[in-house]
């Protein structure tokens, strides 16, 4: 397999206001290297605000990179992408309710990209593809995502959430992309409906050889859908590797913490309703917010105190060390280098320990 998309040392800054006439730059993505293979589904997980959506937008070309760049099939992607290149990477969003035009029927929504991309009819090249051709392809697309003729003439509001997301997928597929970037594409759906959409993505990958970058905060879904997973924290990838390995033997304490926080449908956690994660929040301990940074280890699993620090104040050394249950002195001073094992890459001074 060759890398279809290679992201190298990608940096994305957002300008922010930091007081009167003072501007600062918020580093949302900080030197990310990532590869997406042909026909692969890669999961990208992390807490809100970790930069996963910004990374996705930079890959699709919606946000210009500050430094580094994206290679598509080995070819560097220029800042202003030519239409042919834009076509190859398409995006689906979390909320199809707002990404679909509420006043267009499904068929009209799908016809627009088709009008531009289908080869034109012979007699009048300027007139674009014939209506017949468009109708045929629309039917084909709807069939591909499991919708029928009945939905073709419906408005988005007449469809269920799952159906709307299928329309969004069909629209993305209309221009025959090679890569789909799905940003929390099923986060708003019920487990059952989400499952059907995820099976569809999986089938489309088989059928069309699509590559998918699947961004999610739901680790169980990522485990079920993806081949590989990358874990992002505060703008950087902290761990990456095959799903089965990463989930079975996480090398980074952050991955461990994320996995531990996922509630199980099959058993209640011992010791009360929710695990004995440290940090603020216990009633009866007023005024004693578990400051991130206090060394962990009162026995038992310990999780994250509080929330990720702002990307405006990235801690020195390992950026996870203030919240890390295993942090040592070295973590606060030097940035961890990459550790590899069985195709798994981990950026931690104490990987797998």
């Amino acid at each position: 397999m060759s890398a279809l998309i290679r992201v190298h040392s990608l940096v994305v800054d957002h300008p922010v206001r930091a007081g009167f006439l003072r501007r600062r730059r918020l580093r949302a993505v900080d030197g990310v290297d990532l590869e997406l293979m042909r026909g692969e589904i890669l999961g990208l997980v992390g807490e809100s605000g970790c930069g996963k959506s910004t990374l996705a937008r930079a890959i699709v070309g919606l946000t210009p990179p500050t430094a580094g760049g994206v290679l598509l099939d080995g070819v560097p992607v220029p800042g202003r992408r030519p239409p042919g290149m834009r076509r190859r990477i398409q995006m689906i969003y979390q909320d199809p309710g707002s990404s679909l035009d509420p006043r267009r029927t499904v068929a009209q929504t799908l016809a627009e990209p088709l009008r531009r991309t289908l080869p034109a009819g012979k007699p009048a090249r300027l007139a674009g593809p014939s209506a017949q051709k468009i109708a045929h392809r629309t039917r084909e697309l709807l069939e591909m995502v499991g919708l029928g003729e009945r939905q073709a003439h419906a408005l988005p509001r007449e469809l269920s959430g799952g159906q709307r997301q299928r329309v969004a997928i069909a629209r993305a597929l209309a221009v025959e992309p090679e890569v789909l970037v799905a940003d929390e594409a099923v986060a708003a759906l019920d487990a059952s409906v989400a499952g059907a959409v995820l099976n569809l993505l999986s089938d489309l990958r088989e059928r069309l050889g699509l590559s998918v970058l699947f961004i999610s905060h739901d680790l169980a879904t990522v485990r079920g859908l993806c081949d590989r997973v990358a874990v992002m924290y505060l703008g950087s990838i902290v761990e990456e590797g095959p799903v089965a390995r990463v989930f079975a033997r996480p090398g980074h304490p952050y991955t461990r913490v994320l996995l531990d926080a996922v509630p199980s449908r099959d058993r209640r956690r011992s010791g009360g309703a929710v695990p004995g994660l440290g940090g603020p929040g216990e009633l009866g301990r007023p005024g004693e917010p578990g400051e991130p940074g206090e060394p962990g280890g009162l026995g038992g699993p310990r999780g994250l105190g509080g929330e990720p620090p702002s990307p405006l104040h990235v801690p020195p050394g390992c950026r996870f060390h203030p919240r890390c249950p295993r942090a040592a002195a070295v973590c606060g001073t030097s940035e961890p280098s990459e550790e590899r094992r069985d195709g798994q890459r981990v950026w931690c001074h104490f990987a797998w320990r």
């Binding site: 996922v262 449908r265 309703a273 216990e282």
Partner: protein, 352 residues
């Protein structure tokens, strides 16, 4: 030992104005220190149930019957509350979207203090002190400073904590939670669940927790009611309902949830979609999607109530209830509800 529930919702019926029935005589009860989880797909009426209980009916929906009874004192029988007046009289609600419960133009501390003053008639300074205490109690760091923050200056997790402090400010006896963790990351979700659980244990709150997420319900609830198409179709202690489901819908709902352990395979969605309220029928509403359909499913299959914590299901194929030969007899020790002193027993079922 009291056997009265704190909150009883009896035969709640909701309908669109001049139209379809949305909720079909829904009944449930919550005791002190008990958490009732209500789980189901979108559109099954679970959020509507909470809103109706709170007296917050959306426009175009009207109460078509039923009674909400609230106990005003520990150990006293619950008494009927006039429709739409339950809020503030012992009920408080936490919403999915914490923006919705806070005023964007008011500093969060002042907002909470205002509720405290209205509620208790306390002096301004006393109310402020109480507000800071509440913020501290829900784990807001630097409560004195955050007191002066506007909602938009807080992160999502912090805002949800403030919303919980706000709900607790009215000294409720029952807390209604409408998907309070759905919009949060897993790490924050775990913390908010822990916070709610602590509030319940310490204050002996009754809690109704609505979620579409079986895994969350498993973590927080003692008793669960599974809703489908405006009815409760299975109810009982969490461990019984989720481990020994009697209704095929409950089973399917559980199977649809991906897990972190177990084999990796295809997702297992439930085929088909729930019926629209206009198509609600007296027969089993799940039968078109059910793999185990029999003739009796087309007969009258009513929903069940969750007034007791006995494990029951509306499915015609499930073992009939009220039987001492029940293969999964309910007993108190089987469900881990922390301090045993406030027993979750609501109308104790016949001894098994």
């Amino acid at each position: 030992m009291t056997s009265y529930p704190l909150l009883e919702v009896d035969g709640l019926r909701l309908a669109r104005k001049g139209g379809a029935t949305l909720l079909d005589g829904l009944s449930f009860a919550v005791a002190a220190g008990q958490c009732l989880g209500i789980v189901g797909e979108s559109g099954c009426g679970k959020s509507l149930t909470l809103r109706a209980t709170m007296g917050l009916l959306p426009a175009g929906v009207e109460l078509a019957g039923g009674e909400i009874r609230l106990s005003h004192q520990a150990g006293s029988a619950p008494t009927a509350v006039p429709p739409g007046q339950a809020a503030g009289r012992g009920l408080a609600m936490v919403f999915q979207d914490s923006h919705a419960s806070l005023d964007p133009t008011t500093r969060v501390g002042a907002f909470i203090a205002d509720i405290v003053r209205r509620r208790t008639g306390a002096w301004r300074t006393a109310a402020r002190k109480r507000a800071v205490e509440l913020l501290a109690a829900v784990g807001v760091p630097d409560p004195g400073l955050r007191f002066h923050a506007y909602p938009h200056e807080l992160s999502g997790g912090m805002r949800q904590r403030v919303a919980i402090a706000l709900a607790l400010a009215t000294d409720p006896r029952v807390l209604l939670c409408d998907e309070p963790t759905t919009a949060l990351d897993v790490t924050l979700q775990a913390e908010i669940l822990r916070l709610l659980d602590a509030a319940r244990t310490e204050r002996g709150l009754g809690m109704v927790f609505v979620s579409h997420d079986i895994a969350v319900i498993r973590q927080i609830a003692d008793v669960v009611a599974v809703m489908y198409a405006g009815q409760i179709i299975e109810a009982g202690p969490v461990a019984d309902v989720l481990d020994r489901s009697r209704h095929p819908y409950t089973r399917a709902l559980i199977d649809a949830v991906p897990t972190l352990d177990g084999p990796i395979g295809r997702f297992r969605p439930i085929a088909g979609a729930p019926p629209a309220p206009a198509d609600y029928s007296p027969s089993c509403r799940f039968r078109d999607r059910c793999a185990h359909q029999v003739a009796a499913c087309s007969g009258v299959v009513p929903g069940i109530d969750a007034l007791t914590i006995e494990h029951r299901s509306s499915c015609v194929r499930s073992p009939r209830t009220h039987s001492s030969r029940d293969p999964s007899p309910y007993d108190h020790s089987s469900y881990d509800h922390s301090p045993g002193d406030h027993s979750p027993g609501v109308h104790e079922p016949e001894a098994t």
